[in-house]
């Protein structure tokens, strides 16, 4: 492998990042160290070219389009083009890790949708060899429940959960995509035992959710940016398949560590 590159394996899928800028490579290594797998065979190689975007706006909406056998992902501070067929692509971006982080997230959503998986706005953790996924939008308590985890819990992420379909069902995998916790997840995975939709409550309790509501909540919290009808259709089926295989509940909780007494 070239000294200019590093391979990041997330959810069992490796993406090789190539940059000739030593400072940026060092920043990438520091950011993604737990997910670096030099020997992994990459599904995609992305050449990164740093440049200025004079009117750079990372808060701008991401645009994801597919045309002529390539994917184009753009935002105010980056433009990425990649070819699924050849497994090659480029990223032009500012020297901002948030840009490449966003590109990686989106590419993984596109990898996953083909395989019945998805990225979800959720924290997740492994306890007793089983993964628990805690979903909600900003402010729902994803980081809070992560901070409250007891020592026997392995955190996979406090922000973006990686749900992969495999031969045994569904696995949640650690990701480097973090939220307010500011710490990458552990690079481990485990079968998903339950999905909880977080709600703040006056007590710690778990309640059932009607399937239609669970589907609505799940689909609202899945990260997906592409508008291609075939992929949106696949994503819908993936979400329904997941709900048929994994129990979904509402977890109301107080911000104290006793909530983990319910998560076993």
């Amino acid at each position: 492998m070239s000294p200019d590159s590093l391979s990041l394996e997330i959810g069992g899928k490796a993406i090789r990042l190539v940059t000739t800028d030593p400072d940026f490579r060092a920043a990438l290594l520091a950011r993604y160290r737990a997910f670096e797998r030099p020997s992994a065979r990459p599904a995609l190689e992305l050449s990164i070219r740093l440049r200025d975007y004079p009117a750079s706006r990372p808060d701008e909406d991401v645009r994801v389009t597919s045309q002529d056998g390539r994917w184009v992902i753009t935002r105010g501070d980056f433009r990425s083009v990649w070819y699924p067929e050849s497994g090659q692509g480029t990223v032009e971006q500012t020297a901002n890790l948030y840009a490449i982080d966003t590109v990686l997230r989106i590419i993984h959503t596109l990898f996953l949708v083909r395989e019945g998986g998805f990225l979800l706005h959720a924290s997740s953790a492994v306890r007793n060899h089983r993964a628990f996924v805690f979903s909600g939008l900003s402010g729902a308590g994803k980081t809070t429940i992560s901070r409250l985890a007891p020592p026997d819990v392995h955190l996979l992420t406090d922000e973006i959960s990686y749900i992969r379909r495999d031969t045994r069902g569904y696995a949640a995998c650690g990701t480097p995509f973090f939220g307010e916790l500011g710490v990458a997840g552990e690079n481990v995975s485990a079968p998903v035992a339950a999905l909880y939709f977080l709600a703040k409550g006056a007590e710690n309790r778990i309640d059932p959710i009607p399937p239609a509501e669970a589907a609505r909540l799940l689909l609202r919290n899945i990260l997906f940016f592409a508008g291609e009808a075939e992929l949106v259709h696949s994503l819908f089926q993936a979400a329904c398949d997941f709900l048929q295989a994994v129990p979904a509940r509402r977890l109301s909780f107080l911000p104290d560590e006793r909530v983990w007494e319910l998560i076993r």
């Binding site: 239609a212 589907a215 009808a229």
Partner: protein, 95 residues
């Protein structure tokens, strides 16, 4: 009185989850949950069977409703689903 024919829109994805039919309009990701009667109509919407026949064969028989009331309700339901892009409605067979 002209006949109405209904067909499932190709721009939707649908799935029965624990007895509830969930339909998503793929264009805008809007989700709809169909009640039992709407689900029965949805499942029978083959584009070639007149709505009145669907109502008589499925709704009146399964839900024990009188034909005129059932047809009026079905027309409203169909119009609503068509407005959301979930069903196609035509005065001629579809497809």
């Amino acid at each position: 009185m002209s006949e109405k024919y209904i067909a499932r829109s190709t721009g939707v994805a649908a799935r029965m989850l624990d007895g509830e039919m969930i339909v998503m309009n793929v264009a805008d990701s809007s989700l709809y949950t169909l009640n039992e009667q709407a689900t029965a109509i949805w499942q029978a919407a083959d584009g070639v069977t007149p709505l009145r026949e669907i109502v008589g064969r499925v709704i009146c028989r399964e839900f024990e409703v009188d034909p005129e009331t059932a047809y009026r309700d079905a027309e409203r339901m169909v119009a609503d689903l068509a407005a959301h892009g979930v069903l196609l409605v035509s005065e001629a067979p579809i497809g």
